[in-house]
């Protein structure tokens, strides 16, 4: 983030020092003004991008009569939390329970499976290693749209339709590839020499791994776990195919509000309160792991 601060002053110094750079030098006196101009533009764009998020929170606190008026209310003054208490009912609690159960099972198993696999591919060279890495990279790209018919059929044959375990199994399979890929970097980042040194000092391989490597991996496990959590918590497509109306996850519950909109008048205040409840934990977690995620996805490119 600090690199652009280094970028900015450089051209100014250069143009002042050199007369030959005439075309650029002509523009220099406007440099400060230009910076203000760009800054104003940036602020406007920031407002545009944040507006939907703001609007969700704002509307969630306004009553339906306020929202029904012709002029939108841009500030939530006089708002209250009635919408929130209206949407937190049995249906919400059931969806919350299912979402939590599915997500926790999936995240736990996914972390465990992915961790073992990432140790295998970053600590060992073995026959079939490249095949495995290639397989997880391909699987990671497969869209749910391309598989959900088969997954639906499979789950119905196993009697796992609308079942927490069934959905969890599919989520584990969907999230394991990226988690392996992410953890692989963290495991490779802990030098094996550390482990070996501990073994020289008399620890067994397992002890060395548990006492030396595992604690160093904790941040990586947390980041990968949060990422897996977000994937499962937000997932919509597979849940839609596998779960029925009585057993919904939170995204399906939230979609239910929009679905009703065609048949009866919709209370947007309540819909926005419901959306806020679903979004807030996600936003908090997301902000925590964001940096690691960007670097994970484009790591290959940045390194060239």
């Amino acid at each position: 983030m600090s690199a652009s601060a280094q970028l900015a002053p450089a051209p100014t110094r250069a143009s002042r020092a050199s007369q030959p750079a005439a075309p650029a030098a002509k523009r220099r006196p406007r440099g400060r003004g230009a910076k203000w101009g760009w800054s104003v533009l940036a602020i406007i764009l920031a407002l545009i991008w944040v507006f939907p998020v703001y609007w969700m929170v704002n509307s969630s606190m306004l009553s339906s009569s306020t929202l029904e008026s012709f002029t939108p209310t841009f500030l939530p003054f006089g708002g209250d939390l009635d919408n929130f208490s209206a949407v937190i009912n049995d249906k919400f609690l059931s969806a919350l329970g299912i979402s939590l159960a599915v997500t926790l099972i999936a995240v736990f198993c996914c972390l465990l499976f992915a961790f073992l696999a990432s140790v295998a591919i970053s600590r060992f060279r073995f026959r079939g290693r490249t095949t495995f890495v290639l397989a997880i990279l391909i699987v990671q790209m497969l869209p749910a749209e391309g598989l959900f018919i088969a997954q639906y059929k499979m789950m119905s044959e196993l009697g796992l339709l609308s079942n927490i375990l069934g959905l969890s199994l599919l989520y584990i399979a969907a999230v394991v590839p990226f988690t392996v890929w992410m953890l692989r970097g963290f495991v490779a980042g802990v030098p094996a020499e550390l482990e070996e040194a501990a073994m020289v000092d008399g620890l067994s391989r397992t002890q060395a791994f548990m006492r030396i490597t595992l604690p160093l991996l904790a941040p990586g496990l947390v980041a990968s776990g949060v990422f897996a959590f977000l994937q499962c918590w937000n997932e919509f497509t597979v849940a839609l195919v596998i779960m029925n109306a009585e057993n919904q996850t939170l995204p399906l519950w939230l979609r239910g509000f929009v679905q009703q909109s065609t048949s009866r008048a919709i209370d947007w205040g309540e819909v926005m309160a419901a959306s806020t409840i679903v979004a807030i934990p996600v936003i908090v977690f997301f902000v925590i792991v964001q940096g690691r995620m960007t670097s994970g996805l484009v790591a290959g490119a940045v390194k060239g």
């Binding site: 749209e145 919509f236 964001q290």
Partner: protein, 318 residues
């Protein structure tokens, strides 16, 4: 390309090879068992089932009447390939994907360049705004956008109506013209995807060396020339990967389209590949043709992602 060639010394010191005993050890295979098992169950079996089913007649009769599916060769593929609706939907999906991904990358790039030209606090403000938009769960983002584009009380119609001479009162964005429906979908998807592009491109821009930009400046390069000949070539790899990822992601906009259809109309004029396959296969119980279309989507995705997968694989072996 720019990676300093890994020296042989470094290679020799690879942890796995320094301990000779580990080389022939069965341990890595045991470690892989759970991951491989769950992948075979959740992904491998469905893919195989789908390939087989795409060659079978597997409709409502086989599904409900317990009749065994017959092997019909390429019949499903021929039925799909000769269906005008399928081609309309497929072409629409590809066009939607190309336009949305391209616009997303251009806007994201522009925002990243903008970040390098503004005051520090402004950049942080913009980054926080983008981060919040990026963090929004897709379903929640969709409900907000549907509310923003609401016909009667939506802010979009309200603001557009304020412009003198523009009458957008009660304009139906989502339930009317399919073109407008997809325009709205494209705006929403762009809003969601720009932050990732902007952050990645900005990370790439911070790698551009100050000396090089300064030197080109001394040589009299204009701002545009500096961008075109110095900055863009350096961040080209990032842009390519990001464009590729967006192409892949914009092919799978099932959630967004499904929710917009909830608020609007569900006819096939408003379908993209994901929703069309869902209607055919899951809701319509025509597994055979649905599977054939799903294979088409899988193949398209793998072709598109091949370059990305290769670059990641190279990184793994570097």
């Amino acid at each position: 390309m720019a990676v300093p060639a890994p020296t042989t010394i470094e290679h020799d010191r690879r942890p796995d090879e320094s301990v000779g005993a580990r080389r022939r050890s069965p341990v890595p295979y045991f470690l892989l068992i759970p991951a491989v098992a769950i992948l075979l169950f959740g992904m491998g079996y469905p893919v195989v089932w789908q390939v087989i089913t795409s060659f079978q007649k597997y409709g409502a009769l086989q599904q409900l009447g317990g009749k065994a599916p017959d092997f019909v060769g390429l019949e499903n593929y021929i039925a799909v390939a000769t269906s005008p609706t399928f081609w309309q939907v497929a072409v629409r999906s590809v066009i939607f994907c190309l336009i949305t991904a391209f616009i997303t990358v251009v806007i994201g790039m522009a925002l990243a360049l903008l970040m390098t030209r503004v005051f520090g606090w402004v950049r942080i403000t913009l980054q926080i705004a983008l981060l919040l938009a990026w963090a929004m769960p897709v379903v929640a983002a969709m409900t907000v956008w549907i509310w923003l584009f609401d016909r009667r009380r939506g802010v979009v119609n309200y603001l557009l109506d304020l412009i003198p001479g523009v009458d957008m009162n009660q304009y139906n964005w989502i339930g009317g013209d399919p073109f407008v429906f997809f325009l709205v979908a494209s705006i929403i998807v762009t809003w969601m995807s720009v932050p990732f592009v902007a952050f990645s491109a900005y990370a790439g821009l911070t790698q551009v060396s100050t000396e090089m930009v300064e030197a080109s400046h001394l040589d009299g390069a204009s701002g545009w020339q500096r961008l075109r000949f110095i900055v863009l070539p350096i961040i080209r790899p990032v842009i390519m990967i990001v464009l590729l990822l967006n192409l892949i992601w914009d092919l799978r906009v099932f959630t967004q389209i499904t929710m917009l259809q909830d608020a609007g109309s569900k006819t096939s004029d408003y379908d993209l590949l994901g929703t069309y396959i869902y209607k055919m296969g899951v809701a319509g119980l025509n597994f055979g043709q649905g599977a054939a279309m799903a294979i088409f989507v899988l193949a398209l995705t793998i072709v598109l992602s091949w370059f990305y997968i290769r670059s990641l694989l190279k990184e793994d072996q570097a």
